[in-house]
Symmetry: C3
Subunit: 409 residues, 3 copies
C-alpha cells in the first residue's frame, strides 16, 4: 500500500480527464459535420457515455478483468464486487495501488471511448436505433473480451504483446468497427459524384471542432498518464512529455505535408495530425525518449494526410477522419513499439503484429456480424429524405441552433 | 497533520473543478434560452462568480463557519482571518486536513453555485439591477446562515440531518429561490397562450448546452469528491463511482421514460436527467453502493420528466428546468439518504424531512421578502418591448453573435 | 526528495491546466474578432502550441535554464538531456522536487503562452507566413533568453527582481511584442474613420469569448499554483486564493468603472477586467494577503478600462485588448510587488522598475527587428481585398461556420 493516497489521487484525476474526452469527441464530431445532424451526434455521444458506464458496471469490468481465466474469455460475475478486508471494510491492498472503485471508473471511461470513435465515422446517415443496439453489444461484450486478451492477462499478454494505453485495445477496436460500419452503410449522398469524384462536405462549426481537439489533448494527459496505473514520478512525467511531443510533431508534420501537397493551410488536417500523433504514441508512451516520440508522432502526421486521401480513394466516407486517426495511426503506433524505444526488436515487432491481427480478427468479424444483422433486419440507414432534411428534424424533432438571426454589418 | 500535502492537493483540484462548473452553468443556461438574451445571462453568471467570491471573503465564510455558536446564526467577523501558529506562520494543524486558504476557496466556489441556479430560472425577463441586488443578499447572508445550520455545526447537525455535498444546502437553496423568483416574475411572453396551452420556446444553441452539462458533470467530480474533505482513498473513489453511476442512470431513465411518453428522442431531457441524477446523489454520495446510486439516479431521471411537465402544468415558466433539476431532485436526494445506504431508517428519514422543511422555510421566506420588496420598489421585470427585442440590446447594447452570415448550400 | 511524488502530481496537474489555457486564448481571440478571420486565428494558436513545444524541446529549455552562466545568455545544448543517476536511471534528486520531465513540460507550456498574446493583438490583418516566422524566433530565442535573466538565475535574479509567475517574464514579454507588432502593422481598415474617430468592430461570438476567459481563469490555477514549484500546502493554497480574489476584484472594478463611464453593462470590459486582475496578481501571488490581492486586482480593473481607451486614443488597434491586459497590467502587477506584500519597499520597487525596463528593452528591440525585417522583405500585412473578404477564405480556403441556416421565429 505504498503511496496509496498519492496513486489514488493521480488516478482519480486521470479518470476525470478521460471522462472529459467525451466532450472533446462530441465537439469534434459535430464541428466536422453538418448542422442538420448535430443533435443526433450529440445524442449518440451522451448515450455512449451514460449507457457505457452502466454496462461496464453490469458486465464489462468483470469480462475484461476476470481474474485467472483461459486467456480468451472469462467472466467474474455481474455487477461490481468490491474486495473486502477481514473487518468488512474495503480491501485497500487490492492491487497495491489505487482502490477498486478508482480502478473500475478509470477503466469504465476507457470503455465508452471505443464506441465514440465509431459514432463519428457513421455520422449523418446511420439510424439511431440500430446504432444504439450496436453500441450496447460492442461496449458490453466485444470491447471487454478483446481487452481481456492483453490488459486482463490473456493470451496476448502471455505472448509479449505490448499496448501501454490502447493504440490497439481502444483506438483500433473503435477504428475497425468504424471501417466495417461505413462499408456497410455506404457514403453520404453527395460525397461522391457519378464520375467517382470526391466532393467536399464542409463541417459546420470549426471553432467547436478545434475546441474538441484541444480538449482531447488535455484528456490524453489522463488517458496516457493514468495508464501508468500509479503516480510513479518518472513514468508519469515521461509519459506526459512523450504524449505532448508526439501530438505536436503529428500536427506539425500534417500541416507541412498537406501544405506542400495542397498549397493550402488546412486547419482540419493540422488538427487530425495532432490526434494521429496522440493515438500513435499511446501504445508506447512510457517506452520512448522525447526524440523517438517526435519521430513516431511526425510519421503519424504524414500517415494522416495520406490516410485521409486513401480512404477517399476507396470510396469510403468517413466524415471526421476517424479511420485514419484511430485505426491507421493506432496500428502504426502499435507496430512502432517494435521499432522504437526500450522494447524495439524483431521479436517484439512480431508480437505487435500478432496483436494487431488478433484485434483485427475479433473486431472486424464481430462488428460485421452485428452491423450486417441489423442491416438485414431493421436497416441501418435513414431514408434519403431524412438524410437530406437532417436527422435532427426526423429523429429528434429539433434544431441545434433554433433562432440564429442574420445581422448584416 | 496526517496526509496534509495529499489532502490539500486533492482539495485544491476539487476547488478548481467546482470553479469550472460556472462555465458549465453559463453554457447550459444560454444554450437553452434565446439568442437575444445571451449576453445578459453570461453577464449574470460572471457577476455571480466574481461578486460571490468577494462577498464570501468579506462575510460569507465567517457567517457559515462561525465556530461555536447558538446553532441558528453566528458571525466570526469580517474578512479572512488565517489561524497562526506560535511562530506567526500559518497554522497548518488548523483542521487536521488541508489549509485554511483551501478551505475558504472550496467553500467560496460552492456559495456562488446557489445563486447561479436562480439565474437560469429567471432568465429572459428579469431586470439586471434587481437581480444583482438579490444575488448580493442571497450569497452574502442567506446561503451562509442556512449553511451554518448543518455544515457550520448548527441545530440541524445536532438533529442528525445529513447532507454530504449539498443536495439541500446548495441545490435546494438555489431551487427554492428560483421557485419564488419565477412565481413573482411571471412567465415569459409567449410561453403560455390564452387557452392555457404551453408553447415551446426553443433554446438557441444546443451544442453549448450539451457542453455545459458535460462540464457540470466534470465539475461534480470536485463538488462531491471534494466534499469528503480529505483525499481518503476509499471515500473519494467510492464517491466518484456513485456520482458517475447516478448521473448515467438519471440520463438513461429520463431518455427512456421521455421516449415512451413523447415518442421522441429528446436530447434536452437526456441532459436534464443527467443533472437530476447528479443533484440527487449529492446528499449521500459517500453512503451508497453502486446499485443504490443507480436506483437513486434512475428515480431522479423519471422525476425530471414528470417534474418538468408538472412545472408547466402549474403555469410556471422555468426556461432551463432548474426547479425540476435542483429543487425537486435535491429534495429527492436528501430524502433518499433515509431510504437507501448506510444511514437508512425511519429516524434518519424524519431527520431528513426536518432538514428539507427547515431549508424550505428560510429560503422561501427570505427570497420572497427580497424579491417582493424589489418588485414593489424597483420592479423586477423588464418592459414588454425590452423582452421582445431582447435584454442584450437594451441592457448591454450588444449582440452575442454580431455578424453571422448566411451561407446557402 | 521529500514529497517528490506529491510535488510531481501537483506540477503535472498544473502543467495540464496551463496547456488548457491555449484553448482559452483561442476562444477569447476568435470570440472578440470577426467571423471571417476565425480559421486564421485558430490556425495561429494551434501552430503556437505545437511548434512552441517542439522548439522549447529543441533549444528553448536549455537557453532558459543554462545552469551556471554569465547572467545574460547561456546555452546548455540542443534537445532534452535528462540527468541520470549512477545506475543510469533518471536522477530523481535533480531539483529536490518534481522530475526533469515535469520541469520541461511545465516550462514549455509557459513558453507558448507569450506568443499567443501577440496573436490576438495582430489578428485580422497579419499575413500568416511572417507571423509564423516571428513566432518561431520569438519562442525559441527571445523568450528563453529573456526568461533566463530571472528564472534561469541571471543578472536580474542577482539584482533582487521578483516575478513569481510571469507578469513580466510571460505577459509583458508577449505584450511588448504585441505593441510593436500593431504599431508596424497599422489598424484594421474601418477601425478609425477619416476624422480620427474610433469605430467599434464587434466580436462575432461572445459566448465563446466568455468561455475563453473562464478557461483562462481555470488555467491560472495551474499557472500561478504551479509556479510555487512544489505542492507546499500553505503557498499553493494562498496563491490560489490571491489569484481568484484578484480576478474577481479586477472584473468587478472594471464592471463598475465602465458602467459609470459609459452607462452600459459591458460584458467585454467585465471579462477583460478579470484577465487584468489575473495578470496583475501573477508577479506576487505568493506574497500578498487576500486584501492586498483584492487591491491589486481592483486597481488592474480600473487600469483596463483606462488602458483600452488609451490604446484607442493612440490610434493603435488591438482587437482583443491584449496590450491593456497583458502589457499594462503586467507592468502594474510587477511594480505592485514593491508596493504591497512581504517584499514591499523602495529597494524592491526600484528592482522591479529595473526588471520592467530590462524586459522592455529586449522585447521592444528584438520584436522590432524581427517585424521590421519581415515587413521590408515579405510584407506583414495582407492585401486590402484579403482583409475585406477575410483571411479564412484567402489563406485557408474555408469558412469557420459553413452552413448556418436562417431560422426565423
Amino acid at each position: 500500500m505504498n503511496n496509496l493516497v498519492e496513486n489514488n489521487i493521480w488516478m482519480m484525476i486521470c479518470t476525470a480527464l478521460v471522462f472529459f474526452m467525451h466532450l472533446g469527441f462530441s465537439l469534434l464530431e459535430i464541428g466536422l459535420t453538418r448542422q442538420k445532424n448535430t443533435i443526433n451526434i450529440l445524442f449518440k455521444n451522451i448515450f455512449i457515455i451514460t449507457v457505457g458506464l452502466l454496462l461496464y458496471c453490469l458486465v464489462g469490468f468483470n469480462l475484461m478483468y476476470p481474474g485467472n481465466f483461459n486467456g480468451f474469455i472469462g467472466f467474474a460475475g455481474f455487477g461490481l464486487d468490491a474486495p473486502l478486508s477481514a473487518d468488512n471494510t474495503l480491501d485497500l491492498a487490492y492491487n497495491t495501488g489505487y482502490t477498486y472503485w478508482t480502478d473500475f471508473l478509470f477503466q469504465g471511461m476507457f470503455a465508452a471511448t471505443a464506441a465514440t470513435i465509431v459514432s463519428g465515422a457513421v455520422a449523418e446517415r446511420i439510424k439511431l436505433g440500430p446504432f444504439m443496439i450496436f453500441v450496447v453489444i460492442y461496449i458490453s461484450v466485444i470491447y471487454p473480451i478483446a481487452g481481456s486478451w492483453k490488459w486482463g492477462g490473456g493470451f496476448l499478454d502471455d505472448l509479449g504483446f505490448y499496448d501501454f494505453a490502447g493504440s490497439t485495445l481502444v483506438h483500433s477496436v473503435g477504428g475497425w468497427a468504424a471501417l466495417v460500419g461505413i462499408s456497410l452503410l455506404g457514403a453520404r449522398t453527395g460525397k461522391f459524384d457519378k464520375d467517382g469524384n470526391t466532393l467536399v462536405i464542409l463541417g459546420h462549426n470549426i471553432p467547436l471542432a478545434t475546441a474538441g481537439v484541444l480538449i482531447l489533448w488535455l484528456g490524453w494527459f489522463g488517458f496516457n498518464g493514468g495508464s501508468v496505473l500509479s503516480a510513479d514520478p518518472e513514468l508519469t512525467s515521461l509519459t506526459l512529455v512523450t504524449t505532448c511531443l508526439a501530438a505536436s510533431a503529428g500536427g506539425v508534420a500534417s500541416f507541412i505535408f498537406s501544405t506542400i501537397l495542397y498549397k493550402n493551410y488546412d486547419l482540419t488536417m493540422f488538427l487530425n495530425g495532432i490526434l494521429g500523433g496522440l493515438v500513435s504514441i499511446t501504445a508506447g508512451a512510457d517506452l520512448m525518449s522525447p526524440s523517438e516520440a517526435i519521430m513516431i508522432g511526425g510519421i503519424a502526421g504524414v500517415i494522416i494526410v495520406l490516410g485521409v486521401a486513401f480512404i477517399d480513394r476507396l470510396k469510403l466516407d468517413d466524415p471526421v477522419g476517424a479511420i485514419a486517426v484511430h485505426l491507421i495511426c493506432g496500428v502504426w503506433g502499435t507496430l512502432a513499439v517494435g521499432i522504437f524505444g526500450n522494447l524495439a526488436g524483431w521479436s517484439q515487432f512480431s508480437s505487435q503484429l500478432i496483436g494487431v491481427a488478433s484485434y483485427a480478427a475479433i473486431c472486424i468479424s464481430s462488428s460485421f456480424i452485428i452491423f450486417f444483422t441489423l442491416k438485414k433486419t431493421m436497416g441501418i440507414r435513414v431514408s434519403e429524405k431524412e438524410e437530406l432534411e437532417g436527422l435532427d428534424l426526423h429523429e429528434h424533432g429539433m434544431n441545434a441552433y433554433s433562432d440564429f438571426r442574420l445581422n448584416e454589418h
